[in-house]
Symmetry: C2
């Protein structure tokens, strides 16, 4: 059963781009489909440090397995000190769509 | 500049599946890439009526244009009475990813 995670992260001041980079690069070492987004603010000078990550997995087990993978460790250790507080995570079950892989 | 919307909707009791169907079918008449999800609860008997919709657009203008399209009207009119309260919408700017169309 497909499984998705909607994550809301907050980067420490001036660390947003570094965190985005880690999130994009770390996806290459696991089987997730990942969309990394910043808060929409094309017309504002200051950009909030909020980052949204949508991860798609073939199953909850595939996600649990990926969390245990040793190759993910360095990415987690790199990202953690750049984050403010705890990330907010919503587990959802993909039920349909258009144009997405697998839909 | 790509543009995405993260929407949290709540269906009225027993209307979740009907709303999901409308959300999947209505995507076919616009240029969005859409992922429709239910709250994850494979082991619970009762499923909350929360629905998450992630919509990807090529630009904010493409989304604004789609909202004006007359072919969307019947879908909105069909879905609105099945929803509880107002949907929560977060505008985000895709900045990277893996396996997603366009990333």
């Amino acid at each position: 059963m497909p499984y998705a995670l909607l994550n809301r992260l907050t980067a420490k001041p001036d660390q947003r781009l570094a965190v985005v980079e880690i999130l994009v690069e770390s996806a290459s070492c696991s089987r997730t489909i990942r969309l990394v987004s910043s808060t929409w603010s094309p017309n504002r000078r200051t950009t909030p440090n909020e980052i949204w990550v949508v991860d798609l997995w073939t199953s909850a087990e595939a996600h649990a397995q990926a969390l245990k993978a040793p190759e993910l460790r360095p990415w987690v250790e790199k990202a953690t000190p750049l984050l403010e507080g705890v990330s907010e995570q919503t587990e959802v079950r993909p039920v349909g769509g258009k144009g997405m892989p697998g839909t």
